[in-house]
Symmetry: D2
Subunit: 363 residues, 4 copies
């Protein structure tokens, strides 16, 4: 139960960072969707380590193998299992972690919850778990784009530490985001952010930031209106990404600075289409998409693995210190962008399929 997401389009990831591999099973995917291993690999390559000098230099090729559910380039309607083998990169760098709890990592909580843990490199709490999400996101994207070809999901780094990208969400293009190593929306911000990341890494420190994500041309009517409001399930999806500490939609935490008169989005007609003049709602009203751009923002904390000595305790309840080893991201945001997009596609796909059952009597 802990490792599944979605009701109809159901994604289940599995795998520890230093076990044989990581992967995902996607159940509930409609049949007859065009899908190839390349479609999945393309997204995995975007989250892979070693893409640039500001992310971890670890060499993980992360080749995906589709084990089931696809025949001759089309989905069968049966579960799609995908596997990425782990390289055997376990080193003595991890030996120390067997008994010492890394601050602000999951080590202590895993031990408390399970009575044991896969201590080498994070185990299930490793960022490698997100490989399964990105692979499933590629499937979800294929489904959504087949059913609604106009839908677009774009995420980008809006902020790293104190450096903010000034491009407004509606002007961010996927192309611009992919054209710089930070995955922010313009070149100048990218340069400043990259410099800040390099500087932090240089002193063994790390940085956090904010990722923006927008969904364009979302069909009207997605989202279940009570517990599974579209923003609630998107929030669930995003807050489950490692290091995410906050989620907001539309006006978000700036909503209180408005009053009702300035915050409400007046309806107007654009031809035969109902539009809103402003979009403080962020494309969702009453938990249901209204066809305007969905706008989300996610806060990420600075990476917890640091190359400096930190105070901590061991599993015998003794005080000690720990200094991070190995090769880690000093800022996870560039590689988190495809993960955010994957979670958005997965959530949209589930709601899109659910909606086919709600509207059954009208089509």
């Amino acid at each position: 139960m802990s490792s599944s997401f979605g009701l109809v389009f159901r994604v289940s990831t599995w795998g520890e960072s230093h076990g044989p591999g990581v992967g995902v099973v996607v159940d509930g995917c409609p049949s007859c969707i065009a899908l190839s291993a390349e479609d999945v690999q393309r997204e995995l390559d975007r989250r892979r380590p070693g893409q640039s000098d500001i992310v971890t230099p670890r060499k993980e090729e992360d080749r995906v193998e589709i084990l089931s559910g696809v025949l001759e380039g089309r989905t069968l309607g049966t579960p799609i299992a995908m596997l990425v083998r782990n390289k055997d990169h376990r080193s003595s760098a991890y030996d120390e972690m067997q008994h010492i709890y890394r601050p602000s990592h999951a080590d202590y909580c895993y031990d408390a919850k399970y009575g044991l843990r896969a201590w080498a490199g994070g185990g299930r709490a490793s960022a490698r778990e997100t490989i399964g999400r990105v692979a499933a996101g590629a499937v979800a994207r294929a489904v959504v784009r087949t059913l609604c070809p106009q839908v677009e999901v774009v995420a980008w780094v809006q902020q790293v530490h104190h450096i903010c990208c000034p491009v407004p969400p509606e002007e961010v293009s996927a192309q611009a985001v992919e054209s710089n190593i930070v995955r922010t929306a313009d070149a100048a911000s990218a340069e400043a952010m990259a410099a800040a990341i390099r500087e932090a890494r240089g002193r063994g420190d790390s940085l956090g930031g904010v990722i923006g994500c927008t969904v364009r041309n979302c069909p009207v009517g997605l989202g279940d209106p009570v517990f599974d409001k579209l923003e609630a399930t998107l929030g669930h999806a995003m807050l489950s990404i490692p290091a995410c500490k906050g989620f907001e939609v539309g006006s978000g935490f700036s909503a209180p600075s408005f009053t009702g008169i300035s915050h409400n989005d007046p309806f107007c007609m654009e031809g035969t289409r109902v539009r809103t003049r402003t979009n403080h709602s962020g494309g969702i009203q009453g938990g249901i998409s209204n066809g305007e751009d969905i706008l989300m923002r996610l806060a990420f904390k600075p990476t917890a693995t640091l190359m400096v000595e930190q105070e901590t305790v061991n599993d015998q309840g003794q005080s000690t210190t720990l200094r991070g080893k190995g090769r880690h991201d000093a800022c996870v945001l560039p590689r988190a962008v495809p993960i955010v997009e994957a979670m958005a596609w997965i959530t949209l796909c589930d709601h899109l399929l659910r909606q086919r059952t709600v509207s059954a009597a009208r089509s």
Copy 2:
């Protein structure tokens, strides 16, 4: 599927605002928990309209009837159904709404999603839906407090428009919160907030704000480490509350202003107990509770119902205007406090019961 929450402790609400009633079924509640209708009524009274001059003056008595699952003051382990009858307060005030979409309400989206809607007073999108949540929250509270008597959940109004309450989360007491009509943490803030709400209402306007919520003495080990991280399910729960636009845990959206060195929470021993020196993690690491206070903040938008004329369209695609009628909250936050607490109890209860299956081989 749209109206249920929780995996083991499963809450399903039902009801439209102007139908016969609203209610909830709680399935998966353990047996032999002490529970009375008074326990539930006490919480419902906290969310009831008409409690003070700054909330809607509507008279809704909202008496709960427990229809099943409880015998002689103890839960039977079977589904607990609870019912609150609606008063017949449908008036001509709502007639206009049958064909005109209220800005920033759910009207248009419901029509688009379902092909029809219960147009009188919001139907399923009405705040009356939250009656079921508060009733279920009272059950969840009884379960959690039976299993872990030390656990405490306190929510309070931290901010109304530009007015912030300065009391730090660890000093907020439930008593202080209940002693003022705004449900903020000190009297001075309460006075200023109440004045702002009255002023906004006076000109037909409305205000939003921020609600803080803390869980104290949470057992270590709650939360599932991938999709159902404790913060992800809490976020899901909170973002499903009407008018909530943002959710953060621990350092939240201020996390990017730290660097890793200042953000990490060093572990230390307090006797035999593992503690952290700071709590930027907000009591959750790797998706699992670590025993420190859980700290959450929720952003609420200003109430969408305004007593001024607004631009909108009708269901025939024609431009028109609408002015709110009836008696509405100019600020939902005072009455949202018990709803936030209810959703916290429900989420905790589900995780607490789940954890009994995870640790099965160790007890």
Copy 3:
């Protein structure tokens, strides 16, 4: 979790026999389906006590109230809550049952499972729980018949003790079944069965039997091919009916008497439609409906409540005896027929809605 059935079309019953009432919430019902309280009441009247001299003479009117989810005769797409009040018929007849376990009833197991039980009249294990099923079945029927008007579900009493009704399944008509008090398929069988039931009742004894159920004009393609095969979910549904001890589909327990050559159903064309020459498969192949009649048979044990003295024990572990009191069915089958049909409609409805998500890319 214990009291819900279905994935997309989700039915949750609640209620003890001697509490305030029993009921059901149906979530996931499509919007815009014509539905009235009369549609539901009609089915409830078929399962009501007191319909004839061979069933329990208890007077339970069982008037249903639809509390939500329906407006002006059409479903809203939101949860449909339905309530039937219990009459206050608790009598001293039940006092003895507080501490003595009735043989072949649920009393002992409830105590063992929950640590307590609603001892008056069966509580949750009472046949009154099936009121919620029948009400939900009426909703499911409305959905299926709206989407596929040709689908027909007919159940009938095939056997009471040693008396078998000779009418072959394909010739059984709903009309014939409703025209006799046993709900068997012809008048002669009805007379013999009724006589047997009266005779058994006369000596304080009870009878079991077999109910047949057929689905005609089922769309091809329903059923999920692995764990949720159509026969597996139908079996789950039927075996959850109180007193049901066995379920078979198609050739069922007579399958072993065939060899493969005589058992296989050859395919043939009927115009453009694929048919099978025989139907040993019972309308389901590989877990998926093939368009032929679905044929099921359910075994029911004799009623456990007997008007004779029986050996048993009490909750103190002492040997004692018990003689049934009150007014009970000496044979549950006539009143079980509408319950069987309800469970068939519910299962079909869920699969029909699921299939809309599977085939999403093809329509």
Copy 4:
């Protein structure tokens, strides 16, 4: 959704017979359970082809690889993914099947449901899917036996065509079952059954039969009392096994031949333990285990693949004929025994873990 089973202990299989492999993910397994690949392999070896001369002579080694969720011989509490590679045994034997529907197979229904199918060798409908079930069953067994070491599950072939094994259920031993190639309970029956299978195979025909399954020393209190009655979920599990056409528990289809007086199971004390004098209930009352042996019987149809020419149609709607090719089981029952046991373990394990949440307030 189609490929998962269980609520807390959740089993999800995936894989087509002629794709890269088949496998399973087990989520919700408690931590700290002793488990090795050998524990799983032992069960897989029991379902493997080529074990004797009466089953298919195909050589499938079926080596399992545990990809996650286990470290140093203990479960981590995280998802356990297991993979078995398919051999590349696709041959021209299957070419014909691309367009012709095999009678009483899933081919036609898959095409109708999905719009395409993995036509080589059955795809998802192949018996290879059950590899995942057997692997998951080995995990479930380890969990149940850790929590309740006395629990025993034994299945055996009770009947092949007209040959019945006379050993009463309570006398069947696992050892006896494993000591003959038919997996029946005594040597004489085994010989007669094997001869019948060889004879049928010799003329291109096939046989069905009945498998009995008993659970001994089941804890009292397992099973949810309404839709998820223990017999209903066991029935669901068993009826989802390919070729299973019927399921009964306790007296089953012979229940109608009793009257209530002879069918009821009188309670009596055995020391401090509540027992029943007879066991027509089959160890389950009110959907909940009562501690007596659980007794089930499953009917299996004769294998649908026949080495004789049969009438059928192709996917163009034309009449044609088909003769089976390749190497198939003329009787599936010997290899179905470990599958039946696996589904019993999985169902018991899920209920055992569920029960820990029901009784939470009492321990």
